[in-house]
């Protein structure tokens, strides 16, 4: 091989001190991030270990995993419900903005959507309690009376409307702007040539979308949905404020007893927690961290796998 020769030739490119300093600063900044993250990880693990291996108070459950399972379930279930509502809507809105709305309006709508993505979650929480829950409560009663045979709507319905369905709607509203904004970018990048080719073949607008826009954006839709999912999984304050939680594992979405989520549970209980409870809560934070990590990894993997044929 040519290993010796290149070393000699490359060595001749001497570096100036300023160059070295600048590169060093940049590298240090990057390494700092690794250190910070390492710090977070070490802290989480160290704090979580006593709860994970040791016994936990009897009232909380038989073991850490017994205790954390309903929370994990609630986290996944609420995020899942939110995604079911948010993804089709977000794709439809993105399509509306990119392909249905007049150009001027579309740009304005784009800004509005971006604005909404930044509304703090406390405000979503306030709104969920003050507006959404009372609005949904009669509907839940009706669902319980008329569709009670469905496992999802087993009565009795909640008297307050602060159910996991309400929380999921809040979550859906929160992630909607994020997914929409990403999908919009992706749809805008559809090669103009493909769209025009479809239209020139006499396709209707919808057929053009199914022929050119959606296939092009498929991986992007999945990736942005997963990013939205990540946000929904980790959302804290809005869920903590809206959801009437009791730590059960139940698929009923209109009842008084709803599974809590990991993040909301931490926010609610950390202030009054002490002793092993702190370790348990941090352990559950670690579980949440692992889930979001998995989800983000999945999204990266999908993007990496599909960009080759997705093209630009």
């Amino acid at each position: 091989m040519t290993t010796a020769a290149p070393a000699a030739s490359r060595a001749t490119a001497t570096k100036r001190p300023a160059d070295i300093a600048f590169q060093a600063v940049s590298t240090v900044a990057g390494v700092l991030i690794l250190i910070a993250l390492g710090g977070v990880a070490i802290f989480l693990v160290a704090q979580a270990v006593p709860a994970i291996i040791g016994p936990i108070p009897e009232a909380e459950g038989a073991s850490f995993w017994d205790w954390v399972w309903p929370l994990t379930f609630g986290t996944l279930w609420s995020a899942f419900l939110a995604m079911i509502m948010a993804v089709p809507l977000a794709v439809a809105i993105a399509l509306f903005i990119t392909h249905f709305a007049p150009r001027r309006l579309a740009q304005l709508l784009g800004y509005v959507i971006d604005l909404l993505a930044a509304i703090p979650s406390v405000i979503y929480g306030l709104w969920g309690i003050a507006v959404l829950a009372p609005f949904f409560q009669p509907a839940f009663l009706w669902l319980g009376e008329n569709l009670g045979w469905l496992p999802l709507f087993t009565p009795p319905a909640s008297g307050t409307g602060r159910t996991i369905l309400t929380a999921s709607v809040v979550l859906a509203v929160m992630v909607l702007p994020i997914i929409t904004a990403l999908c919009r970018e992706i749809f805008l990048q559809t090669p103009r040539l493909n769209e025009e080719a479809a239209l020139a073949l006499g396709a209707t607008r919808w057929e053009m979308i199914t022929m050119a826009v959606l296939p092009h954006g498929r991986s992007g839709i999945i990736a942005s949905s997963i990013l939205g999912l990540g946000r929904a999984l980790g959302e804290t304050m809005a869920v903590a404020m809206v959801l009437a939680s009791s730590g059960v594992v139940s698929f009923v979405v209109i009842g008084s007893q709803n599974p809590s989520t990991i993040a909301a549970n931490i926010a609610l209980r950390f202030p009054e927690a002490h002793g092993i409870t702190v370790n348990m809560l941090i352990g559950s934070g670690l579980v949440l961290f692992a889930i979001t990590l998995l989800v983000n990894g999945l999204s990266r993997w999908i993007i990496a796998k599909t960009t080759v044929d997705g093209g630009r």
Binding site: M1, A5, R10, T12, T14
Partner: protein
């Protein structure tokens, strides 16, 4: 102001891949040397190795020597930054700095290096360089507007003005007209004709008429096949290359029977 370049047995690699093999050329001062050849034969790579710009691509390195008036560009301890200050370059697509005005673009080489210069010296330099690039009369009233507002041909001349503002000894041009319309191309070719009285000029072009019009000497590069290194096939007076080349491949290429 202009210097001679001697390329001795130059091999250029990208990582383990040998892109160009065994090039040896003597480039005369105050003359235009054209590199021609089919796409992918390594002519641009050779050009970029003349001011160590190829190193910008990670993993690229060379074996051999390039002498600028006898001094090896690849000698130990040579700073590529200093090399580039003496050997200027004009790129395929005009690339004025979008954040800078016309005036700032011309002064970029000076200002970016934090060199101080009085206002009047700057004005002189701007006028001299823009005149040298045949652009002064077109832009003298709007030196404060962004350089990206000019037409393609003007932008390319602005880039040439920018390159000569740092008073290099050699000007490398990498297909400088390929993104331009015929009229702008003509303007650049005229400019090259004027510039060669002061600078050593090396130009890569895929346009053989252009090579025959502007150059004094021509080097023909070719490649045996994909994955093989590019090689210098023939180097001679331009008139000879285009009328009576000594290698069959050159004749095939210049007469259009190739590829």
């Amino acid at each position: 102001m202009s210097k001679r370049i001697e390329i001795n047995d130059l091999d250029i690699y990208y990582g383990d891949f040998k892109a160009v093999e065994g090039v040896s050329v003597d480039i005369e001062p105050r003359a235009v040397t054209a590199f021609i050849g089919p796409s992918g034969c390594g002519k641009s790579t050779v050009l970029r190795s003349l001011n160590r710009m190829h190193e910008v691509i990670s993993g690229a390195w060379v074996d051999g020597e390039v002498l600028l008036d006898g001094a090896n560009l690849y000698g130990p301890g040579v700073d590529p930054v200093n090399v580039r200050r003496q050997i200027g370059m004009v790129f395929q697509r005009p690339n004025p700095f979008p954040t800078m005005t016309i005036r700032e673009n011309v002064l970029a080489g000076v200002m970016l290096n934090n060199r101080r210069m009085s206002k009047s010296d700057q004005d002189d330099l701007v006028e001299r360089s823009l005149r040298g690039a045949n652009l002064w009369n077109e832009v003298k009233d709007r030196l404060g507007v962004p350089g990206s507002g000019l037409s393609g041909g003007q932008q390319q001349r602005l880039c040439i003005a920018r390159a000569i503002a740092v008073s290099p000894d050699v000007l490398l041009m990498d297909e400088p007209c390929s993104a331009l319309d015929p009229i702008s191309t003509l303007a650049i070719e005229d400019l090259i004709e004027e510039l060669k009285t002061e600078y050593t000029i090396v130009i890569v072009t895929h346009n053989m008429q252009q090579a025959s019009r502007v150059s004094d000497k021509t080097a023909f590069f070719n490649i045996a096949g994909t994955g093989k290194p590019g090689k210098l096939i023939e180097f001679d007076e331009t008139a000879k290359i285009f009328s009576n080349p000594s290698v069959q491949a050159t004749e095939d290429y210049v007469s259009g029977r190739f590829g």
